[in-house]
C-alpha cells in the first residue's frame, strides 16, 4: 500500500513536471510490479478479490430486492458474468428513501456535531485506504480500466476526496448580515435533507466520492443509485462507511436501472435534492421528473465535446502526448475528454503524424496486466456505438490515420483510433463518442478557433496548449466552459470545482462550491430593541 501511494505521488508529480510524463502511463505503470510479470496470454488474469456484496444496502443492512429480481454485471474483458446483483426498483427506492428520511428527521446524523461527523468520515477514508487494492481490483474487474490507474490514482484520490470533505464538515459558516434597520440578521446553512444521487459507470468510486462526500459533510442522508454496469465497488465502499460508524439509513445504495430505480428516485416526493452525472439526454429526463414531482433542486454533470487547442507556438511532442492523454485516458470514457483536437495549421501535419505514431504505440490489453494503458470499453452497447461513430467518420470523408476496428476478438476492446481532416459538421466532431477516437481539426487564427470551439451545445472543459500568456488569457476567458486546463489536462483535485456551461449541466461539484448543492440557506431575522450599533 505504501508503495502504491508513493507511485501515485510520482504520477502526480509527473503531471506537472517538465518531462510531462515522457513515456506516458505505461512507463509509470511498469514500476508497479504486481502483475507486470504476467505473460501475455489469451486467458484473462484472475482478479485477486472476491465479490462479497451484491445486495442492496438499505438502512445499514444488505437486503434482497423486494421483487427478488437480480441482474448480471459483466466483465468487459470477456463479456462473462461476474455476479448477479439485486435489482432495485421503485419499491426498493421507496424503502431506501424512507430509511434516509427517518435518518434525517429523527436519526443522530444531522444532530451530531460536525466534529463527530468529520471523525466518522475520516475513519471511513482510513478503512478505504486500508482496502485499497481489493477495491481497486473490484473497480477494474467491473469497469475494465487499468488496474494501476485504479490502485495508484483513483482509490487514493477517493480517500483524499473523503478527507477533504471531512475537513469541511466543521467549517460550514452562515453569515451575519447588515440589515437596513433595527434587525439582527443571520443566515443558517442547513442540510437540505434526503439527497438522491445517480452516478455513472466510468469512474464509479470517484463519482461516488464527488456525490457522497459533500452531502455527508453537510449532514444530509442519501440514497445513491449506481450504474447498472458497475454496481460492485460502491457497495464495498459504503459498507466501510458503516464500519466507520455511519449510522444506519444515512447512506443507502440501490443498484438498478435508470428507467426504474433512477426514475423512482428522481420523481420521489420525499427526496429533497437530486444530483446526477451522466448523459445530457438522461439529464433532461431527470430534470423533468424533478419538475413534475416536488420541484427538488437538481445538479447535473452531463456530456461534453471538449476542445483541446494546440497553438502555433506549441512544442509538438509535448502537445501530442498531452492531447493523446486528454482523449484516450480511461478508454476515452470521460465526460471531459479532449475529443476535438484543434491544431494550428503551421504544426498540423507534424502533429497528425506524431499523434498517429503515439496511438499506434498505445498498449491495449487485459487491464490487470502491468503496463497496459487501455482496457476494454464498458459494455457491448458502448462498444457498438463507438464502432458506429468510427464508420460514420470514414463515410463522411475524414481520414482514418490509424485504428478503426475492434482489438482482438473477445471482450470490448477497441483500437486507439485517430482521424485527421475532420470537419466541424461531421458527427464525430459534434457528438460525444465516449471512446478512444481522436478527431484532429485544423485552424488558422485564434478568433476562428474560439468561434469553432464554442460552436457546440456542450461546455464542460477545454485544454489550451501554449506558452504565450496573452494567448492563454484570451482563450481562457473566451471559451464558454467550466474548466480550462492550460498546458495540462484532466487535473482533478478535490479543491477545483468541476461542472458545465450550456448543456453540459448545471451546478458545480468538488471544492467549496459543491457544499452549496447540499445546503439550504435560511435567513433569520430578529427585531432589535435599543441596539448599541447597527
Amino acid at each position: 500500500m505504501a508503495s502504491s501511494l508513493r507511485i501515485s505521488r510520482l504520477i502526480s508529480r509527473s503531471f506537472s513536471s517538465t518531462s510531462l510524463f515522457p513515456r506516458g502511463w505505461s512507463y509509470l505503470g511498469s514500476r508497479h510490479s504486481k502483475y507486470s510479470t504476467a505473460v501475455a496470454t489469451e486467458e484473462p488474469i484472475k482478479p485477486s478479490v472476491q465479490v462479497e456484496h451484491t445486495q442492496l444496502l438499505i438502512d445499514g443492512k444488505f437486503v434482497d430486492a423486494a421483487s427478488g429480481k437480480t441482474f448480471q454485471t459483466v466483465d468487459p474483458r470477456t463479456g462473462e458474468v461476474i455476479a448477479n446483483v439485486a435489482e432495485g426498483n421503485s419499491e426498493d427506492v421507496d424503502r431506501a428513501v424512507a430509511a434516509a428520511r427517518t435518518a434525517f428527521d429523527h436519526g443522530p446524523w444531522p444532530k451530531m456535531t460536525a466534529y463527530e461527523r468529520q471523525r466518522i468520515l475520516l475513519r471511513a477514508a482510513d478503512l478505504i485506504e486500508k482496502h485499497n487494492d481489493e477495491i481497486a481490483a473490484l473497480e477494474t474487474w467491473d469497469n475494465g480500466k487499468p488496474y494501476e490507474q485504479s490502485a495508484n490514482v483513483e482509490i487514493p484520490m477517493l480517500v483524499r476526496l473523503i478527507r477533504y470533505y471531512a475537513g469541511w464538515a466543521d467549517k460550514i459558516h452562515g453569515l451575519t448580515v447588515q440589515a437596513d434597520g433595527p434587525h439582527h440578521v443571520q443566515t443558517l446553512h442547513e442540510p437540505i435533507g434526503v439527497a438522491g444521487q445517480i452516478i455513472p459507470w466510468n469512474f464509479p468510486l470517484l463519482m461516488f466520492a464527488w456525490k457522497v462526500g459533500p452531502a455527508l459533510a453537510c449532514g444530509n442522508t442519501i440514497v445513491l443509485k449506481t450504474a447498472e454496469q458497475t454496481p460492485l465497488s460502491a457497495l464495498y465502499a459504503a459498507k466501510l462507511f458503516h464500519e466507520a460508524g455511519l449510522p444506519p439509513g444515512v447512506l443507502n445504495v440501490v443498484s438498478g436501472f435508470g428507467p426504474t430505480a433512477g426514475a423512482a428516485l428522481a420523481s420521489h416526493m420525499d427526496v429533497d435534492k437530486l444530483a446526477f452525472t451522466g448523459s445530457t439526454d438522461t439529464g433532461k429526463v431527470v430534470l423533468e421528473l424533478a419538475a413534475k414531482s416536488n420541484l427538488k433542486p437538481v445538479t447535473l454533470e452531463l456530456g461534453g465535446k471538449s476542445p483541446f487547442i494546440v497553438c502555433e507556438d506549441a512544442d509538438v511532442d509535448q502537445a501530442v502526448e498531452l492531447a493523446h492523454f486528454a482523449l484516450f485516458f480511461n478508454q476515452g470514457q470521460c465526460c471531459c475528454a479532449g475529443s476535438r483536437t484543434f491544431v494550428h495549421e503551421s504544426v498540423y501535419d507534424e502533429f497528425v503524424e506524431k499523434a498517429k505514431a503515439r496511438a499506434l504505440k498505445r498498449s491495449v490489453g487485459d487491464p490487470f496486466k502491468g503496463g497496459i494503458e487501455q482496457g476494454p470499453q464498458i459494455d457491448s452497447d458502448q462498444f457498438e456505438k463507438i464502432l458506429r461513430y468510427i464508420r460514420s467518420g470514414v463515410e463522411n470523408g475524414a481520414t482514418l490515420e490509424t485504428g478503426g476496428d475492434r482489438h482482438g476478438n473477445k471482450g470490448y476492446y477497441i483500437q486507439p483510433t485517430v482521424f485527421s481532416n475532420v470537419k466541424d459538421g461531421m458527427a464525430i466532431a459534434k457528438e460525444e463518442i465516449f471512446g478512444p477516437v481522436q478527431t484532429i481539426l485544423k485552424f488558422k487564427d485564434l478568433g476562428e478557433v474560439v468561434q469553432r470551439a464554442n460552436n457546440t451545445r456542450y461546455g464542460l472543459a477545454a485544454g489550451v496548449f501554449t506558452q504565450n500568456i496573452d494567448t492563454a488569457n484570451s482563450l481562457t476567458r473566451a471559451l464558454r466552459v467550466g474548466t480550462v486546463w492550460i498546458n495540462c489536462f484532466d487535473t482533478f483535485d478535490a479543491a477545483i470545482p468541476f461542472g458545465g456551461y450550456k448543456m453540459s449541466g448545471q451546478g458545480r461539484e468538488k471544492g467549496e462550491y459543491s457544499l452549496k448543492n447540499y445546503l439550504q440557506v435560511k435567513a433569520v431575522v430578529t427585531s432589535l430593541k435599543n441596539p448599541a450599533w447597527l
Binding site: 502526480s12 508529480r13 503531471f15 506537472s16 483524499r160 448580515v177 447588515q178 440589515a179 437596513d180 434597520g181 434587525h183 440578521v185 443566515t187 443558517l188 435533507g193 429533497d272 445530457t280 439529464g283 433532461k284 429526463v285 431527470v286 430534470l287 423533468e288 424533478a290 419538475a291 413534475k292 416536488n294 420541484l295 433542486p297 447535473l300 492563454a472 481562457t476 476567458r477 467550466g482 474548466t483 480550462v484 486546463w485 492550460i486 498546458n487 495540462c488 487535473t491 483535485d493 478535490a494 479543491a495 477545483i496 470545482p497 468541476f498 456551461y501 450550456k502 448543456m503 449541466g505 448545471q506 471544492g511 462550491y513 439550504q520 440557506v521 435560511k522 435567513a523 431575522v525 427585531s527
Partner: protein, 491 residues
Amino acid sequence: MTTKMPTVKFTKLFINGDFVDSISGREFETIDPRTEEVIARIAEGSKEDIDVAVKASRVAFDHGSWPRMTGVERARIMMKWADLIDENAEEIAKLDAIDAGKLYHFCKAIEIPSAANTIRYYAGAADKIHGEVLKPAREFHAYTLMEPIGVVGHIIPWNFPSSMFVTKVAPSLAAGCTMVLKPAEQTPLSALFYAHLAKLAGIPNGVLNVVPGFGPTAGAALCSHMDVDKVSFTGSTKVGREIMCAAANSNLKPVSLELGGKSPLVVFDDADLDKAIQLAFLGVAYNKGEICVAGSRVFVQEGIYDEFEKKLVEKAKTWVIGDPFDSKVQQGPQVDKKQFEKILSYIEHGKREGATLLTGGKRVGNKGYYIEPTIFSNVKEDMLIAQDEIFGPVMALMKFKTIEEAITSANNTRYGLAAGIMTKNLDTANIMSRSIRAGTIWINCYFIFGNDIPYGGYKMSGFGRDFGLEALHKYLQVKSVVTPIYNSPWL
C-alpha cells in the same frame, strides 16, 4: 372615491432599445381593478417577439459593450438608473397603483424608493465579483473566474411589479448579463417605464428587453428558448413546474424558482400580544394578501388564544378598504377578476369544510375587486384553506398547546417559504428557527425584506435565492482555470 388616471406613455414591447409593436400586431387590455375598466391596450408579445428579443440580447451579450465594460462602468450606469427612478417615483407609483390596485402613497414612499435602492445595492456589487485562487494538492496554479451566465430570461408576477422587476434585473445586470423580461399580463406598465429609464441612464440597446405577454405564449417561448442561458421565475408552484419542464426539454438552462407559500406565524403565550396581533393581521392583509410570504396560517398558543382571537377580530373591523389612491385607505382591490373569484371560492370552501368565519368573507361594494379581510377559526390542518395558497386577505387561525405540536403543524405543508415566531424566550426562538423548514424566519417581526437578506424557499416553494450576494451568483458561471507551476517557492 376619486379615480385618478395617470397618463400611460409606454404600451409597446421594448426590444433592442426601441418601443415596437408586436409582430402579430396583437394587443391585450390591462384593466383597472378598481373599476374593471380598460387602462390601456398593450402590445402582446408572442413567440416571434421573444425570438427577436432573445436575438437582441444574444448579440448584446456576445458582441456588445455591457459584459465587456468594467464593473465600475456598469455600476455608474446602474446608479444613474436608480436616480432616474427616484425622480420619477410619483409617476411609477401611479402606474403600479392603477395596474395592480396597490396603495399609491405606500408605493411612492416605500416601494419605488426601495426598488431604486435595490439597484444601488447591486451596482455596488458590480466591481466586487471575486473568484478565488484555489489550493490544489499538487504543483498547479488554479483559480476560478466568475463569468456572466449569458442571456437571462426573467418572468415576474403582478403582486409587486416594481420590486420583482429590480430583484431580477439588478443582480443580473451587475453580473454583466443581458436579458429578456416578461412582466405579468396584469401589470405591464411600470416595467415598460423602467425600460425607458434604463435607456436614458445609458444601459446599451439589447441588454434589457421587456416583452409583455401571456405565460403560455411569451413565457413558454422564453423558457424553452435554446439561446436563453438561465431563467429566473417568480410565481405559482404550478407554473414553476412547467418552467422547469420547459428548461429540461430545451437546453437544460438552470432555473431559479421563487414560488408559492403557506407560511405559518406562531404566537407563543409569552409574546407581546398587541404586536403579535398587529403582525398577524398585517400578515394576511398587507398588499391584500397578495404576497407569497403571507402569514396565512396563524398558530396561537392556548393560554392567550381567546384574547388574541377577540382583539384580532376587532382589529380587522377597523381596517379601511377602498380606492388605493386615497391616503386613508389601507387595502385596495385584488388584482383581477380571476383572483377575486378564486379567493371568494376559497372562502366558500372554508365555510363548507366547517371552519368558523369570524369576520369578513364578502366582497366590498359592487364594483371593483375589493374583498373584506377574512378570518377563519376552528380550522383543521387538512382543510383546503389551511393547505392551499389563497393569495388573498384570508387567515386560517389555529390553536396549539406545546412547542412540539407547533413545529409539526408549522411544517405540515408542501411549502417552505417563510415563518414568523412571536416569543420573548430565547430558547423557544432558537428551537423554532432551526426546526421550521423555511427560507426566512422572522422573529418578533414579519415582512422584513432587505437587499442583503437572502429570500427564497425550501420544499415546493422553489429553489435559489433572491436578494443578497446569493442572487448575484445565480447569474454567474464558475470557470476553473488550471495550469502547472514550476519551481514555486511555496504551495
